[in-house]
Structure formats: structure tokens, C-alpha cells
């Protein structure tokens, strides 16, 4: 996916920025990921930004809900700082994951069309 794909969102269209900081968890604790799937399946533009322990979910086979999320059109971004902290920056990410940092996240947070939910 190119950076242009990430930018491809009609201006004025509401979208969800979901910030997930929690890593691997039991199925009954994965509510936020299921919420993300629900948004994507409803056709709402949604980006999930993985930060802190959640960057563990940026890798293939790491989380079934996020597999469904991506299949439903949700976009995943992962925090470069968190990946570097954990020695994960050389590992192969899921297809379509964008590694980014706080400057871009700040631009998303300031976007008036964004609805931001922090987990």
C-alpha cells in the first residue's frame, strides 16, 4: 500500500482513529478489536494505530480479530518507537501495516473529521 492509499479519504467524511495500546489478550478481553471490526464492516473509514504493547499485533498471525479488521477494509498503523523499543523493527509486518510516528498521529488527531478513541 502506498502512502497515497493512506491519504485516500474524501475530505469531510467522518472517520475513526482507534488507538490500541494493549497487546495479546484473552478472547473475552478483545472487545476493542471487535469494535474496530464492527466499524470496518459498517463501511466506516477506520485506522487503528498500534502503540506500546499493541505493536505485537502488527505481525502476521498475531490476532484473528485484526485479520478480520483488515479484510473488512480497516487500516493498521504501528508506532515505530514502540517497535524499536521491542527490537521488532526488522520483523516482517502484516501486509498493509504502515509504520509511523507521533507527528503523523498528531495530524490525525487534529483532523476535524477524525473521531478518536483511545484504548
Amino acid at each position: 500500500m502506498t502512502n497515497d492509499d493512506w491519504a485516500a479519504r474524501p475530505a469531510g467524511e467522518p472517520w475513526f482513529l482507534l488507538i490500541e495500546s494493549q497487546g495479546h489478550c484473552a478472547p473475552q478481553e478483545a472487545g476493542f478489536r471487535r469494535d474496530a471490526v464492527a466499524q470496518a464492516r459498517a463501511g466506516r473509514p477506520v485506522v487503528m494505530f498500534l502503540v506500546q504493547d499493541a505493536v505485537a499485533l502488527a505481525f502476521p498471525g498475531s490476532d484473528a480479530e485484526l485479520d478480520v479488521f483488515q479484510e473488512a477494509g480497516g487500516l493498521l498503523a504501528a508506532d515505530g518507537f514502540s517497535l524499536t523499543q521491542r527490537g521488532l523493527e526488522q520483523n516482517t509486518l502484516r501486509d498493509g501495516v504502515k509504520v509511523t510516528g507521533m507527528d503523523e498521529v498528531a495530524s490525525w488527531v487534529l483532523d476535524p473529521d477524525a473521531n478518536v478513541v483511545w484504548h
Binding site: 472487545g31 464492527a38 459498517a42
Partner: protein, 137 residues
């Protein structure tokens, strides 16, 4: 959506983590915070799931604890503050699958506190656009 629209819509609080300090918190738990958020313009709706789902279940009062020579009878009893929230007009849902994970099955009317509504998984997620904000509490 104008700023005015944002101000008048309720916020949605989602509580997943349960019991976080019966001795340290006593009355000052996440439901107490929720009561403050309900006083903001638009008020608050609340969803319980995960470990927090059992707050919605009828139970006897939390037993007191003896610590040193003190009988601490003010340990957090979440149902007291949750009852206060419902009486203040907060709409409270609990996720059905979260209850099932603890072994609670239909008929849930016999299990839940009065005024608690049951939500299917993802039911409230589809309604996020109706809220001015979604907060994890």
C-alpha cells in the same frame, strides 16, 4: 457535525477492567467518575464488558474487611455507585457474551440489577457515531 451537535450528544463510557482497589478506592471508583461525566452536557451512556461485566450482576454487599483493629466496612461496593448512576439517568448496558464467559445465561432478568440492559456483541459499536465521544473508563 457542528460543535454544538458535539456538545449535546451523550458520551459513551466503556468499562472493561473490574475490581481495581476495594481498599484504596472505597467510594472513589470508576462509577464515581462516570457520575461526574454524566453531569457534562449530553450526559453519559455506559457499557460494561470484560472483567467489569459482573458489576451488573445482583450480589450481596461486598463483605467488610478486618485490617489491624479496624473493621473496614466501606470497601468498594460497585453496585452502590452503579445503582446511583442508573437512578441519575445513565443508561447502562452489559455485553451478553461477557456475562456468558462468567457462566451467566438466560434468563438474565433474574441475574442482573434492575435497570441494566443487555447488549449483543458489537451492538453499541455500531452506534458510536451517535455519541460525541467514546471513552474507556
Amino acid at each position: 457535525m457542528s460543535d454544538q451537535d458535539r456538545v449535546e450528544k451523550p458520551a459513551l463510557g466503556i468499562m472493561e477492567r473490574g475490581y481495581r482497589g476495594a481498599v484504596e478506592k472505597q467510594f472513589f471508583d470508576a462509577f464515581y467518575l462516570a457520575a461526574e461525566l454524566h453531569r457534562h452536557p449530553g450526559g453519559l451512556d455506559l457499557l460494561l464488558r470484560g472483567q467489569a461485566a459482573t458489576h451488573a450482576v445482583r450480589a450481596r454487599p461486598t463483605p467488610s474487611l478486618r485490617l489491624g483493629d479496624t473493621e473496614l466496612d466501606t470497601v468498594t461496593d460497585s453496585r452502590v455507585n452503579l445503582r446511583n448512576l442508573i437512578e441519575a439517568g445513565v443508561r447502562v448496558w452489559v455485553e451478553e457474551s461477557a456475562l456468558a464467559a462468567f457462566g451467566f445465561a438466560a434468563p438474565l432478568d433474574d441475574v442482573l440489577m434492575d435497570g441494566i440492559r443487555v447488549a449483543a456483541d458489537g451492538e453499541l459499536a455500531l452506534r458510536w457515531p451517535e455519541y460525541r465521544a467514546v471513552y474507556f473508563l
